[in-house]
């Protein structure tokens, strides 16, 4: 809809909606509380804005009506017209018509309503009331009168007459009968204040420098003598008490001959509005209008309390208006992000499965986790922007409830509770009709008339409660009345009459109350225009269900009834349980699922033709999901899972074949390209791009209850079989293509990956020799290059074909030339294949997994792909071509490479550590992965603790001999922190920083300024505790990761602190724990990145006894 409008129209509609709402609110307050200056000002402001904004979008009739409302309101505002029910009703009438006109406009039409009747009513009201000023006081209620007393604006008694007289005149300026008198007169109510150019505006801003700026208009009695002199006096006076920034007419103008009736000015000064008004009320002044001005932007709203206004302006600027479409779009994208991430996770798991653990994979995993967290944050953030306080909806009902209770002669007190509870905007928008219906029902049928209530000794005034609250993952909206409640027996009787239940059915109370939600069910004896048509309750149910919510009925006969709508907190992304039934997968929204149980065939019994099970003493009706979904009926398996779902009031079970797991899904509607399907809320995309249908419990129940005559009995199961067949055919076609692609490019790529992975270690110790492998590498490089060329060719081809097409089409030929006509040279082979087997093309192509035009004269437009794939597949043994030779070379290269790695590791182990358990390639990778994971965790913990982004990485990692330890410790003053471990893995974690780095890190972590990061500035206790904490975090993270991975119990002890020479530290370590010097220790270089800062630390794992062997064994 928004696209049809220009920007202004949209803005107008937006604003008008708010204004109508505000008008409605204020009129209600006005009626309830009587005269309140602030409320009237607010109403006046709305009418005023409406006048100009509607004129701006061309709604002149609306503008005209607003203008007349404004006129009348001016008198109310000035206290010249009292508040009465008639007046409020008149304004309500206006409001209704404005609303419908705006709605019409919103639908893209131009409203025809000229509001003539309303305008004349307004005018008449004005005339009638004003022409009888003596009656004014009588008309005004007593309460308002009391309130006006303190309003300084209310004129002194002796002045009333005079002002009122002039008031009549200028308010009726447009009326012909008084036109003679009004000729010279200017109405200041409709007069606009001075406007300034932007440069003047900023000048004003500078000059005002925090002082209050006022807009003012002062008009003189039309017949007053020496007008200019009077105005000049006023100007002088204003100048004496403050800064008169500008006036129109200016002082010079006033010195001239032309007489002026009115003066507009901008005044800067330290006085209040009231004082300024008094200053302006000089002799012969007819009217004064003063308003504080917001020097930066528009004019401030007139309020009793000026400081309040300033705050108001401030809070307003914090909010921005964003169209909900944009937010929906964002939310949808984030949803996709979350799903994509779960796809990544799956890929990671596959990689882990096929290639085993490796440092790169661990890193990938941690990045995926990180991305998932960010996506979650983003999601909840956006979600929050969509939440709106439910109070906004509640407010809307004040008016209808007032009208309706008047009409029905019932006395009702509408009470709100929990208005601040926030609900998704989409729900709020859809809530209107169902709420309205429930309210009407309540007023119409639930709440008794006053005599009836008196009869049953209830308070005469009934209470209608609108309540909203949050509990668990749901948000509840409740409508409760203290009326007569639902009549259970009558509902049951009706249900039986209508054949909704069988005569002898036994229903629980809840089931009976749920009957009222059946389409076409109504117990109302008569059909009123308000309710009782029996369609509404069904609408309520449908709306709530469409948001995966539910409606509950709580009824106490004779004492009241309450309808509770429950909505899930978030709509876009939901958790779901994925189940499998006969090769098809479906998703249950987790919000609907109560629990999942496993039962055996024997647990299912039949009661009144329904399959039920005994669920901890309760009867649980169960349905075979495959039957409900139109799958061929089947006997029960011996044992099967049941999804216990909540249908709103009662639990039902759905029998499935298998439960696959829990997953986050984004529900997409099927209606975008298709239609709503009963039993489904929509569909969702899985990480691999496949689609899974999302089930709707209510819909499933309806389907299962409509039993035999249901739509799916006519369904022939061949369609299901066909879809299955279709998918398997498609899958096999795709698989073939994929396999070919892998032969072509997949395998070498894998080799490259492996190479990259093992390269680091090789570089350290292994002399690269093997000439053959060098050759292979060269071939590999050329292969890579070749691939690049191929890619470039592909791009060229794309362009080429496009051009050729253009040429081909210019001949007046319907047939697009077969792609082989313009294939670049390497594709010729494909054409050859075609020629060689003219009769059996499809068989060959079938083998190749692609299709081909069967008749070269009927070249399909779309079959351009034909040549490309055929080119890649050379299953035919047309001798070993270049590619295959490369393939072979690569294969041997791979084998050799693997051997080399093993040899290298053997050497490494043999040379250095004859007596220690060999740290194999695999061990190395696993250990690295675990240590890396631990470091990542440490990074997260640090990030959270510091509120900064800290990443910890492991640039280097190796197993070294204990004797080499000193070699890794910098030969300067150092700080070491030790962390002993107990449990299954006994040893020592040693964390070493050079002193400078240590102080640097501590200073940084303590948040000290940079010049304090030194030994002199940080006390020993401080650095001790900070670095100990750091080691604790990092060490524990790594140990935890190890413990988690191995299942070993590892406890870290209290950190110890050492400072001094490297040798001293080694000695200290010896003292702490006699480390077996023959053992390998693990050296872990650690990098801390904190935003732009990088700190290098060294961490050592010093295992004792056979701890390392045990650890590696368990890995």
């Amino acid at each position: 809809m928004a696209t049809n409008f220009d920007h202004y129209t949209e803005m107008f509609l937006d604003e008008a909606g708010e204004q109508i709402e505000a008008l409605n609110q204020n009129l209600l307050i006005l009626e309830k509380d009587g005269f309140d200056q602030e409320v009237i000002n607010e109403i006046f402001r709305v009418a005023h804005t409406m006048k100009s904004s509607s004129a701006f979008v061309g709604l002149d009739n609306l503008s005209n009506l607003s203008h007349h409302m404004e006129d009348l309101l001016q008198f109310v505002k000035d206290g010249k017209i009292g508040i009465s029910t008639d007046l409020v009703t008149l304004f309500f009438d206006c409001l209704d018509r404005i609303k419908s006109a705006v709605e019409e406009f919103g639908d893209g039409n131009t409203p025809e309503d000229r509001f003539e009747d309303l305008i004349s009513s307004l005018d008449q009201y004005l005339k009638k009331t004003i022409s009888k000023p003596a009656q004014k006081k009588a008309a005004a209620p007593a309460k308002p009168e009391a309130k006006t007393a303190d309003v300084t604006k209310s004129p002194a008694p002796e002045k009333t007459e005079e002002i009122t007289d002039s008031g009549i005149i200028h308010a009726s300026e447009e009326k012909e009968e008084i036109i003679v008198e009004s000729q010279e007169l200017v109405s200041i109510a409709s007069e606009s204040f001075l406007t300034l150019d932007p440069p003047d505006e900023s000048l004003l801003f500078r000059e005002s420098s925090g002082k209050q700026v006022f807009d003012g208009i002062v008009s003189l009695e039309p017949d007053s003598p020496m007008k200019n002199l009077r105005l000049l006096l006023l100007v002088q006076h204003l100048k004496s008490i403050g800064n008169l920034f500008r006036s129109d007419p200016s002082e010079e103008d006033l010195d001239g001959e032309t007489p002026y009736n009115l003066i507009k000015f901008l005044f800067i000064g330290d006085i209040s509005k009231k004082e300024l008004e008094q200053v302006c009320h000089i002799d012969m002044v007819s009217d004064v209008r003063i308003e504080p001005r917001d020097v930066k932007g528009g004019r401030k709203r007139e309020r009793k309390d000026e400081t309040g206004t300033i705050e108001d302006v401030k809070t307003k600027t914090k909010n921005i208006k964003v169209s909900s479409e944009k937010i929906d779009y964002l939310l949808n994208s984030v949803g996709e992000l979350v799903i994509t991430n779960s796809g990544l996770m799956k890929i990671y798991e596959d990689l882990l499965f096929y290639h085993g653990d490796s440092p790169h994979l661990a890193e990938l995993k941690s990045k995926i986790d990180q991305a998932a967290r960010i996506a979650k944050d983003l999601q909840s953030g956006i979600m929050k922007t969509r939440m709106i306080p439910v109070g906004l909806v509640f407010q809307r009902y004040t008016r209808p409830v007032r009208d309706l209770s008047l009409e029905l002669g019932k006395d009702v007190d509408l009470v709100f509770q929990g208005e601040d509870t926030e609900l998704d905007k989409n729900i709020i928008d859809s809530l209107n009709d169902p709420m309205m219906h429930l309210l009407r029902n309540s007023l119409d049928h639930g709440i008794e008339t006053v005599p009836e209530r008196r009869g049953s000794s209830k308070p005469e005034r009934a209470t209608l409660l609108l309540n909203a609250y949050q509990s668990g993952n749901n948000i509840y909206v409740e409508i409760r009345d203290d009326g007569r409640g639902l009549n259970k027996d009558r509902i049951l009787k009706k249900a039986k009459e209508r054949g909704l239940v069988s005569e002898d059915a036994t229903l629980t109370d809840d089931e009976i109350y749920q009957m009222i939600f059946h389409p076409g069910f109504s117990t109302a004896e008569k059909v009123s225009d308000l309710s009782g048509r029996g369609v509404g309750m069904n609408v309520v149910k449908n709306m709530v269900s469409s948001f995966k919510g539910s409606v509950q009925v709580k009824n106490i006969p004779g004492q009241g009834c309450s309808f509770i709508m429950a909505f899930p907190m978030t709509l876009a992304i939901v958790s779901a349980i994925i189940v499998k039934i006969q090769n098809e997968e479906y998703a249950f929204p987790l919000s609907d699922v109560v629990e999942t149980i496993r039962v055996t065939k024997e647990d299912v019994t039949t009661l009144q033709g329904r399959d039920i099970i005994n669920l901890r003493g309760d009867i649980l009706p169960v349905y075979n999901l495959s039957t409900v979904l139109g799958l061929p009926p089947r006997a029960y398996l011996d044992e099967f899972p049941i999804i216990v779902a909540n249908s709103g009031i009662r639990k039902v079970g759905f029998i499935v074949d298998e439960m696959i797991g829990k997953q986050e899904i984004v529900i997409k509607t099927l209606e975008k390209n298709f239609r709503a399907v009963s039993g489904l809320v929509g569909a969702c995309l899985m990480g691999d791009g496949s689609i899974v249908m999302v089930l709707d419990i209510m819909g499933l129940l309806e389907l299962s209850q409509s039993d035999s005559q249901s739509s799916f009995s006519a369904f022939d199961f061949s369609s299901i079989e066909f879809v299955e067949k279709y998918n398997s055919v498609v899958k096999s076609l795709q698989r073939k293509v994929q396999e070919k692609a892998e032969v072509r490019g997949g395998a070498p790529r894998k080799a490259i990956d492996r190479r990259g992975l093992v390269k680091k270690k090789e570089e350290k110790k292994v002399p690269v020799a093997a000439t053959r492998s060098e050759r292979a590498e060269a071939i590999l490089r050329s292969r890579e290059e070749k691939e690049k060329i191929l890619e470039a060719e592909m791009d060229n081809k794309l362009m080429e074909e496009f051009d050729v097409d253009l040429a081909g089409l210019d001949d007046d030929d319907f047939i697009i030339p077969s792609p082989s006509n313009f294939s670049p040279s390497p594709r010729k082979k494909a054409a050859k294949v075609e020629e060689m087997h003219p009769d059996d093309v499809s068989a060959i192509l079938d083998e190749a997994g692609i299709s081909e035009t069967e008749d070269s004269s009927v070249g399909s437009v779309m079959e351009a792909e034909t040549t490309a794939p055929t080119d890649e597949f050379h299953d035919s043994d047309t001798a070993l071509d270049q590619d295959e030779r490369v393939e072979e070379a690569l294969k041997s290269f791979r084998v050799e490479k693997e051997q080399r790695v093993h040899r290298a590791l053997d050497i490494l182990v043999d040379e250095d550590h004859s007596s220690t358990p060999a740290l194999s390639d695999e061990d190395y990778n696993r250990l690295y992965a675990v240590v890396n994971t631990g470091m990542m965790n440490a990074g997260f913990v640090l990030s959270q603790l510091l509120g900064l982004k800290v990443e910890v990485s492991v640039p280097d990692f190796k197993a070294v001999d204990f004797n080499e330890l000193q070699g890794f410790i910098p030969d300067e003053e150092i700080i070491g922190i030790t962390l002993e471990t107990e449990g299954d893995f006994q040893g020592l974690v040693l964390f070493i920083l050079d002193e400078a780095t240590g102080y640097h890190a501590a200073g940084d972590l303590m948040g000290l300024p940079m010049d304090k990061w030194s030994k002199d500035a940080i006390a020993r206790e401080d650095i001790l505790s900070v670095l100990s904490e750091l080691t604790n975090i990092v060490g524990s993270s790594v140990l935890n990761a190890l413990a988690n991975k191995t299942g070993l119990t590892i406890y870290p002890s209290v950190p110890g602190f050492i400072q001094g020479e490297p040798a001293a530290i080694i000695r200290k370590i010896d003292e702490i724990r006699s480390v077996n010097k023959d053992l390998q220790i693990i050296y872990v270089s650690t990098d801390f990145y904190r935003e732009d800062m990088q700190l290098l630390g060294r961490m050592f794992l010093l295992p004792t006894g056979n701890s390392l062997a045990k650890l590696l064994d368990r890995l």
């Binding site: 399909s860 792909e865 794939p869």
Partner: protein, 186 residues
């Protein structure tokens, strides 16, 4: 051309991600390019262009302007309780699109999937529907006045708008509006 650009972009992304092979990327993008080209040419030359495809033994055409793209058969997910002629839904770059088994719809029997089978994605009033057809044949260019009215030939009248001739071949013009309407309202 925006549509094509975005289509191309997403194909290139798929290619980069490795979800599709280079060859099929070429094919897909040429398809897109061609369809767009047809559309612009048709508009320029005051000729009607139809994408002609074969279902069973019959040939059918839809206006090239209503053709969004043409896919090789991809995996679909069945929509329960939604009629025999709906094969299921497919995922077209995040859009969930129903696929009509045209064989089943017109001839009452399911399609035979072959190497020539295609899913023609038709676009109508912002909605998409896939049509599973046996083979895509050609793009026929037909003079506007040579299109015969709907009263011709007695085949599933409600789905047919008329007939046209391209060389020796006569094809029936599908009433996409009805097909879409039936999808939406059942």
């Amino acid at each position: 051309m925006d549509e094509r650009d975005s289509g191309l972009k997403s194909i290139m992304m798929d290619l980069k991600d490795g979800t599709i092979s280079a060859s099929s990327a070429v094919a897909q993008s040429t398809d897109l390019a061609k369809i767009e080209l047809m559309k612009t040419r048709a508009a320029r030359e005051n000729l009607l262009q139809f994408l002609v495809f074969q279902v069973g033994k019959g040939h059918y055409g839809i206006n090239i302007l209503e053709t969004h793209e043409i896919l090789k058969p991809v995996q679909v997910t069945r929509i329960p309780n939604s009629g025999n002629d709906i094969l299921g839904v497919l995922n077209l770059r995040g859009n969930i699109i129903p696929v009509v088994d045209v064989n089943k719809k017109f001839l009452g029997r399911h399609s035979e999937i072959s190497n020539f089978s295609r899913i023609v994605v038709a676009a109508h009033e912002g909605k998409f529907t896939g049509l599973l057809v046996d083979r895509v044949v050609e793009v026929a260019r037909v003079k506007e006045d040579s299109v015969e009215g709907a009263e011709v030939r007695g085949l599933s009248q409600e789905y047919i708008n008329g007939a046209a001739r391209s060389g020796e071949r006569i094809f029936l013009i599908l009433n996409l509006e009805i097909i879409f309407k039936k999808n939406i309202n059942n």
